[in-house]
């Protein structure tokens, strides 16, 4: 076992809505070691973004988290911390990058100001030193002309450049854990490749851990060590990336992989779509949330919510997993 940075235990996050209680994250547990990248993959509404905000403790006031949910970062329990303590830790220990760099950056502050703010608050740098460090960081994330860009505003930059700035801010205090929530979804493919290369390099060079949240199995395949697949607020399968793709156990993972159009397929191949749609998290089915769409489901699946089982290496939440057919 390596150096465990993050230990999430039975995280549950619900929101009170007009229609009732929405259980967005429903009992998620995992650990993450230094130097590793965990991909969290799922469709919209699967709870992956709420999970990232739950780890950051960046939840709106209508969110409900029960007392037995734990997020332990570097041995300290974030769920027991005050807002002031959390603020001191966001930046030096954990940082997040969001999907849309236009809305995550402040439009009325220069990008230099947004980086130096972090450096003066957390690292106690003086103005001059913070500015120099900001330019250095912008150079490190590959922003052209960092000494000019430092005085510009977000609207003067392209989407790809803005995301580089967001990364510069996130790594400014050398966090141990970086959470990237759909960091390239708003970007074009060529820019996406550049940004993912950059993130990978940052994680490796600084020996950080990263949670990469994405809906794109292609991004997962090329950029992560381990993958957690989420469905209806739960992790339904978790494994090292190669095992997940080659020895898929959970039928949802298999169906998701099969439904992706692949560039290596011949034109006009009929896609293996998953019929139906994800369950309503306000009124989830009593058993396995995927059972209504699952071709392997039986009566047991409708009655009982399967828990994650398997080995510490590869886990799945399924009563009728793939790869366990009785030998003929």
């Amino acid at each position: 076992m390596g150096d465990i940075i993050l230990d999430v235990r039975n995280q549950k996050t619900a929101f009170v809505t007009a229609r009732g209680m929405a259980q967005a994250v429903d009992g998620v547990s995992f650990t993450l070691e230094r130097g590793r990248t965990l991909g969290v993959v799922g469709e919209s509404g699967s709870g992956k973004s709420v999970l990232s905000r739950s780890i950051m403790r960046l939840l709106p006031s209508n969110a409900l988290v029960p007392a037995d949910s734990r997020v332990i970062l570097n041995g300290r329990d974030l769920t027991r911390m005050t807002e002031t303590e959390l603020r001191r830790l966001r930046g030096p220990e954990v940082a997040i990058i969001f999907q849309d760099p236009m809305t995550s950056l402040n439009p009325v502050l220069t990008i230099g100001r947004q980086i130096t703010e972090v450096l003066t608050f957390h690292m106690g740098l003086k103005r001059r030193a913070a500015r120099d460090r900001a330019i250095e960081l912008l150079r490190a994330v590959g922003l052209p002309q960092p000494d000019v860009r430092v005085d510009q505003y977000p609207h003067q930059l392209s989407g790809g450049m803005r995301q580089r700035v967001a990364i510069a801010i996130a790594i400014a205090c050398e966090p141990d854990l970086l959470i990237a929530d759909e960091p390239t979804t708003a970007l074009d493919v060529t820019v996406q490749a550049e940004i993912l290369d950059l993130l990978q390099r940052m994680v490796r060079d600084r020996n950080m851990a990263m949670i990469l949240i994405t809906h794109d199995m292609g991004v997962v395949a090329g950029r992560c060590d381990d993958v957690a697949v989420m469905y209806a607020g739960r992790i339904v399968e978790k494994a090292p990336v190669r095992d997940l793709f080659h020895h898929t156990r959970m039928p949802y993972t298999a169906a998701l992989l099969a439904s992706i159009p692949k560039i290596t397929d011949p034109p006009h191949r009929k896609l293996d779509a998953i019929e139906g749609r994800p369950p309503d998290i306000i009124n989830p089915p009593p058993g396995c949330p995927f059972a209504p769409r699952c071709l392997r489901a039986d009566a047991g699946c409708d009655a009982e919510k399967p828990v994650l089982a398997g080995t510490s290496r590869h886990q799945w939440a399924c009563l009728n997993p793939l790869g366990e057919e009785a030998p003929a």
Binding site: T190, E194, H215, M217, H246, L256, I260, H268, R269, R277
Partner: protein
């Protein structure tokens, strides 16, 4: 019948779309775009944001009319049509958009939304239209009895896109233009809608112009694929060919950047000079890709390369195409 029908049911001739800016300058969204689509064929149009693919699609729809060039559908010049004649012609070409929820009026019932084209065209009695709407909804996989009196917010994104497709097809158009029609959908739902479009295309003999930034999606529905960069057509070829043997350096760049859902796929080097897309207000001289192209030479700055055939079913606009490495 004109000469064009022989080689193009839909034909775009030197299409140019420019948007005026307050400064008096112009955004060159589409420049000198020429393409032909055969009846029953799907032409995929790919490129990154700002490459002009949506502007080209809208120019086909005459929404707005292109600044220059000609769009011909089944021998009829659409760019010359005005008023009633254009409205009449519009029955033959319809469009579906990216955001399935925003493209349906939230105050209208599904019945009224899908019946609207019939009503505007003055086709049938109210009872006839009701029957026709029910047929269309069933055709796109929506339970008509349950859906008719409901409103868009009661449906998921995938269902709203099916309803948009029903509305687009109710006038039995010849041409369907899909602008990022599945981009907002989750993969499992995206696959359902792509399969639906493929089925409808075959059953109804549709001709399609399919615009997307997703190269894998485009490959799945297209017979031929056209790649655009900064308002210009770079390369157009049979779907199989362009993915197997791309010859334009930009097509290669684009394909190499697509993340493959296979952990054993060898890591690929994206062959592009890092940098930004040049401004379409002030595009580079000559070939627009030359500022980021690893193969660019002097001539690329001086002269825009002509679109020329390079292999059967493959045309490229490049001074230095990749013909050496098959």
């Amino acid at each position: 019948m004109t000469a064009h029908t022989a080689d193009g049911f839909l034909s775009l001739e030197n299409l140019t779309v420019e948007y005026p800016l307050q400064s008096g300058r112009k955004v060159h969204a589409v420049t000198d775009f020429t393409a032909r689509v055969r009846r029953g064929e799907t032409l995929g149009l790919v490129g990154e944001s700002g490459c002009g693919k949506s502007s080209a699609a809208r120019a086909v729809m005459q929404l707005p009319r292109p600044t220059g060039g000609k769009v011909t559908l089944d021998g009829q010049d659409l760019t010359g049509l005005r008023g009633k004649a254009l409205q009449q012609a519009r029955r033959r070409f319809q469009m579906i958009f990216q955001d399935p929820i925003a493209s349906l009026n939230p105050r209208m019932t599904i019945r009224d939304i899908v019946a609207a084209p019939l009503e505007i065209a003055g086709i049938g009695t109210k009872a006839d239209r009701h029957v026709r709407v029910a047929e269309m909804l069933e055709m796109v996989g929506i339970n008509a009895d349950q859906a008719m009196e409901r409103r868009p917010h009661e449906f998921s994104g995938g269902q709203c896109q099916r309803i948009s497709i029903a509305r687009a097809l109710i006038l039995q158009p010849d041409l369907l233009v899909c602008d990022e029609a599945v981009s907002a959908l989750d993969v499992s739902v995206q696959a359902q809608v792509l399969n639906l479009l493929e089925r409808l295309k075959t059953e109804l003999g549709l001709t399609m112009l399919f615009i997307s930034h997703d190269l894998a999606v485009v490959k799945h529905v297209s017979d031929r694929v056209a790649v655009m960069y900064l308002g210009r057509l770079c390369e157009v070829a049979d779907a199989e060919t362009i993915y197997r043997n791309p010859v334009h350096p930009y097509t290669r760049t684009l394909l190499s950047a697509v993340p493959e859902p296979d952990p054993d796929a060898p890591p690929r080097q994206v062959a592009v000079i890092p940098g930004e897309l040049p401004s379409p207000v002030n595009p580079p001289s000559g070939c627009p890709f030359r500022t980021r192209c690893p193969r660019a030479s002097e001539i690329c700055a001086q002269q825009m390369p002509d679109l020329a055939p390079i292999a059967p079913g493959q045309m490229v606009a490049c001074h230095h195409p990749h013909i050496d490495t098959p």
